[in-house]
């Protein structure tokens, strides 16, 4: 096992170089750069744009730009590069957004596992019962609604809820039962810590539900399918036959085998920590990674894009290594050489 881990760590080097080089080239090959938009600004002369490109090194050959960037990355502490838009280190501006997104990611991942695994097991054990069918049908509907659309529906409903509550309880004209977006309330900067914490939770409620609803459907389907597979296996019959209770046989024997595919896919959870929860953040106005990243994407803010890419890549490589080790732990039959 020791040599296996060592080999994997050595392999990180060529993988890292290959992946970053490929990504860098593809981003740079796409037409235009950060300053292209300025060319259509009637106030800016093209010479000015040319000069800006030179200042930011965008006029150099791609491989030189890559190597310079790589040099920054290899320093300690690593430099992800400068954002053209913010003219600041990428990490500094990205960090607060990553942390904001993490609130949603962690909360919804936690909720996902808490809810989806029992539902999946339940659906499998009671296959084709009424409850199984209802759960399946609901999950199909969630699968069919894009999360950005679901978020829009939620905002609309919250708006109506707030209006109704104001009428019913004679509240002031901007009282809210649930917030229509954002992460903190106006003026919350001055509040004590516990109140701010509750405020963020209050704001996070709906986005977390929307994100979980999006992911839960697929996860439940997989869990149900895997459990059905395992429940039909001979060793399950043996377990039942030797008098083990249904609960023990399910949780001790079946679950362990059913989760193998999930353990194999666990590596992609780590990069999820920095990648945010997607369009939901935009629609619900959560100050997370997605709006920030989309901005960079639209304006081709090169080093913001590559910065996220590198962090995601490193986390994925680590995640995959962890997942491979976990695989061997969950299923002792698996051997690496």
């Amino acid at each position: 096992m020791g040599t296996y881990i060592l080999r994997r760590i050595i392999q990180l080097i060529p993988t890292f170089v290959g992946a970053t080089l490929l990504a860098f080239i593809i981003i740079q090959l796409s037409p235009g750069d950060f300053f292209t938009e300025k060319l259509l600004d009637p106030k800016v002369r093209p010479e000015t744009v040319q000069r800006l490109r030179e200042q930011f090194g965008l006029n150099q050959p791609i491989y030189v730009q890559y190597l310079l960037w790589m040099k920054g990355l290899l320093q300690w502490p690593p430099q992800l590069g400068y954002s053209f838009a913010y003219q600041q280190d990428v990490w500094q501006i990205a960090l607060p957004r990553v942390l904001n997104s993490m609130i949603l990611v962690v909360a919804s991942t936690f909720l996902l596992y808490l809810v989806a695994i029992p539902i999946g097991i339940f659906s499998a054990v009671r296959q084709y019962s009424l409850a199984d069918r209802v759960v399946s049908f609901i999950s199909y509907i969630f699968l069919s609604i894009p999360s950005f659309f679901f978020a829009l529906i939620m905002i609309f409903l919250i708006l109506q809820l707030n209006y109704a509550a104001r009428d019913a309880f004679h509240l002031s004209n901007n009282a809210q039962i649930l917030p229509v977006g954002g992460m903190t309330s106006s003026g919350s900067e001055a509040w004590p810590g516990w109140k701010r914490f509750l405020d963020v939770l209050w704001h996070a409620l709906i986005p977390v539900l929307v994100v979980t609803a999006r992911d839960i459907a697929g996860f439940t389907r997989f869990m149900r399918g895997q459990m059905l597979d395992v429940l039909g296996q001979d060793y399950m019959r043996t377990a039942r036959a030797k008098g083990l209770s249904e609960r023990v046989s399910i949780y001790k024997h079946a679950l362990r085998n059913a989760v193998i595919p999930f353990v194999a896919g666990i590596g992609s959870i780590l990069p999820g920590l920095v990648s945010g929860v997607g369009f939901v953040e935009v629609v619900m106005n959560w100050p997370g990674v997605t709006p920030f990243y989309l901005d960079a994407l639209n304006s081709k803010d090169l080093y913001v894009l590559t910065g996220f890419l590198v962090i995601g890549l490193v986390l994925l490589m680590i995640g995959n290594l962890i997942s491979d080790l976990l695989l061997a732990w969950v299923d002792p039959r698996i051997r690496y050489y």
Binding site: S30, P31, G32, D33, T36, E37, L39, L40, D41, P42, K43, V44, R45, P46, T48, R51, L52, Q55, A85, Y86, Q87, Q88, Q92, I93, P96, R97, N100, L152, I155, F156, I158, L159, N162, Y163, R166, N173, N174, Q176, V180, G181, G182, M183, T184, S186, G187, E189, A190, V282, V283, M284, N285, P287, G288, P291, F292, D295, K300
Partner: protein, 584 residues
């Protein structure tokens, strides 16, 4: 009392307001509030669509940026929103030299930075120096050059400033109206570390109390991606008062939410979380009007109060050496007039802008009412006239697919591109292509990536890779509203012909008239030249203008102090924040 510090700030402002500054009085005609009606205190809540990038005035580039917001864009002179004329602001008076190349400004006395230091001529000089240092990369760099020759800003004494222009310029005051930034903060750094030092200053993680402002606001706090809180600059009220002598601004502060999604922005306004809102589509307008009607929201909305200062247009490529047929076609004014006859501007307004837009016929935005020449010919939607013009060009027969062909059997066909992802432009192009098809012109519409599109537009030489592009421009001067890089044949945005030489004699004429107008200081004469240019533009149709959206400001009725209706338009907005107050 949520904001104890705001009350404190208000008290200091009152106490400090007793100095002997040369006071600038905001006229009553800029607000609907009756004298004495405005209350003091409260926070105005607004929103912006894109996050702030920096607090540094020298590297900021985005619209609605922090330096512009806190300074209130105050400079030596400002425009009177009631008539567009230049009036004193941080200068009290000025004299123009006999050769009209120098303007000497008398700077208002008693003005202070938000840290209490006096605002003097050095601040303008340093600001100018830093803006024009090319290593800084300031977005204002180009505004200090006229035809590539630099403007000079020099100090006569602490309260006198001289600006020297390389040639007489209609936009002289616009150049002079730039906002000063503190010499006592930027000057020493610039001297010691140069441009690199300046670029490192005032980033988003700078201490907000270090950010010094000349205008009505200072930064209270900034939460990345979420909100910017501004508070009143107590020193601003010493030299800015209303007619009753009350220091301005009335508000304790502002809270600016960053809301990236238009639906989220609408939701925030509908639920009373933000006070000001500019709906851009009929869908948003209808939601606001319905909420107001149902008593769910106490707000005012002014539908269709003015056109917006943007234009959307189709431009044809005159440099197509490898395709003489198309080159000849695109260079023909008759062809372009025919194309203008095929632009169904009313349908564009109905479909794309939900009924609320304004047709455009020349490069002057319709919002510039004083500048639009009503006598310029219009080639409005008329397929019959288009067919007739095309017949005159030799397209008399139709082929078996129903498209027009000339005597040589060449089909009337071209490609039209616009930037993918811009739904409004895609819809306009679709409408145009469909109308063209009805008379037998084959338009192959193809949305492409924005950067590719710009690359094509900016390509140089006598053989360029595109036929026609639908795109839009915004921005530009108000004193001489023709684009300095759009109209002259050598301009970088002279999109239809980038060969660097004028091809059509009327193009040459337009270039010459542009320069004449730019150096003409007499407004009436300048307008005369402008009228002439619009007539030529209309006949030549170098660019086929389509239509633009309208401006519909809305505000929650808890805020007051907006402009009277006739002052509200897309250029000046619905209010000045200095005169805005919280009514409820």
């Amino acid at each position: 009392m949520k904001h104890p510090w705001l009350v404190l700030a208000a008290l200091t402002a009152l106490g400090a307001g007793l100095g002997q500054a040369q006071v600038q009085v905001y006229p009553q005609k800029w607000t609907v509030a009756k004298p004495g009606e405005a209350k003091r205190g409260g926070v105005l809540r607004t929103s912006v669509i894109s996050d702030f990038r920096t607090f540094n005035p020298f590297i900021t580039a985005e619209a609605g940026n922090v330096p512009d917001t806190i300074s209130g864009l105050h400079g030596l002179v400002q425009r009177d929103p009631s008539n567009g004329e230049w009036i004193p602001d941080m200068a009290t008076s000025w004299t123009i030299s006999p050769n009209k190349l120098e303007i000497t400004f008398k700077i208002r006395r008693g003005m202070k930075w938000s840290d209490g230091q006096a605002i003097t001529a050095d601040d303008w000089v340093t600001t100018f120096k830093i803006h024009t240092d090319e290593k800084v990369g300031s977005n204002s760099y180009d505004s200090f050059f006229i035809d590539g020759k630099p403007v000079k800003v020099s100090k006569v004494d602490d309260y006198t400033l001289k600006i020297t222009y390389p040639k007489t310029d209609a936009e002289a005051f616009a150049v002079a109206s730039y906002t000063p930034w503190p010499d006592h903060i930027f000057g020493p750094v610039y001297q010691k570390e140069g441009a690199e030092g300046i670029k490192k200053m005032w980033g988003l993680n700078a201490k907000v109390s270090d950010i010094v402002s000349p205008g009505p606001w200072v930064i209270g706090s900034y939460t990345p991606g979420e909100r910017l809180v501004l508070k009143r600059n107590p020193y601003f009220g010493e030299w800015n008062k209303d007619e009753a002598g009350n220091p301005l601004p009335y508000l304790d502060g502002q809270e600016i939410l960053i809301v990236k999604d238009t639906n989220a922005q609408l939701a925030a306004f509908l639920s009373g979380q933000i006070d000001l809102y500019s709906p851009s589509t009929v869908d948003q307008i209808s939601q606001v009007r319905k909420a107001v009607q149902d008593n769910k929201l106490d707000a005012t909305i002014k539908v269709n109060i003015s056109p917006n200062a943007t234009s959307q247009f189709i431009v044809f490529d005159w440099n197509k050496k490898s395709d003489p047929f198309k080159q000849e076609l695109f260079r023909s004014a008759k062809f372009r007039q025919a194309m203008s006859h095929l632009v169904n501007r009313q349908a564009v307004i109905d479909v794309v802008y939900g009924g609320f837009g304004t047709p455009t016929y020349t490069s002057i935005y319709p919002v510039l009412k004083d500048w639009v020449n009503p006598a310029a010919p219009k080639y409005d939607f008329d397929p019959k006239k288009a067919t007739q013009l095309l017949t005159e060009l030799g397209f008399t027969k139709k082929d078996n697919e129903g498209y027009l062909v000339n005597a040589q059997g060449k089909r009337l066909e071209f490609n039209l591109a616009t930037n993918a992802g811009n739904n409004q432009r895609e819809q306009m192009a679709r409408l145009f292509a469909d109308e063209a098809k009805k008379v037998g012109v084959k338009v192959n519409f193809n949305p492409i990536d924005f950067n590719t599109l710009v690359g094509q537009l900016q390509s140089k030489g006598d053989d360029r890779p595109w036929d026609a592009i639908l795109i839009g421009l915004s921005g530009g001067g108000l004193d001489w509203p023709f684009g300095s890089n759009v109209v002259p044949c050598t301009g970088s945005l002279h999109m239809y012909n980038t060969s660097g030489k004028c091809i059509d004699p009327r193009e040459t004429q337009l270039s010459a008239l542009y320069s004449r107008g730019r150096t003409e200081l007499d407004l009436a004469k300048r307008k005369e030249i402008g009228n002439q240019m619009q007539v030529i533009e209309a006949q030549l149709q170098p660019i086929v203008y389509i239509a633009g959206p309208n401006y519909h400001p809305a505000w929650n009725n808890r805020v007051g102090g907006q402009f009277p209706d006739k002052l509200i338009n897309a250029l000046y907005g619905s209010r000045t924040t200095e005169l805005t107050y919280i009514a409820k």
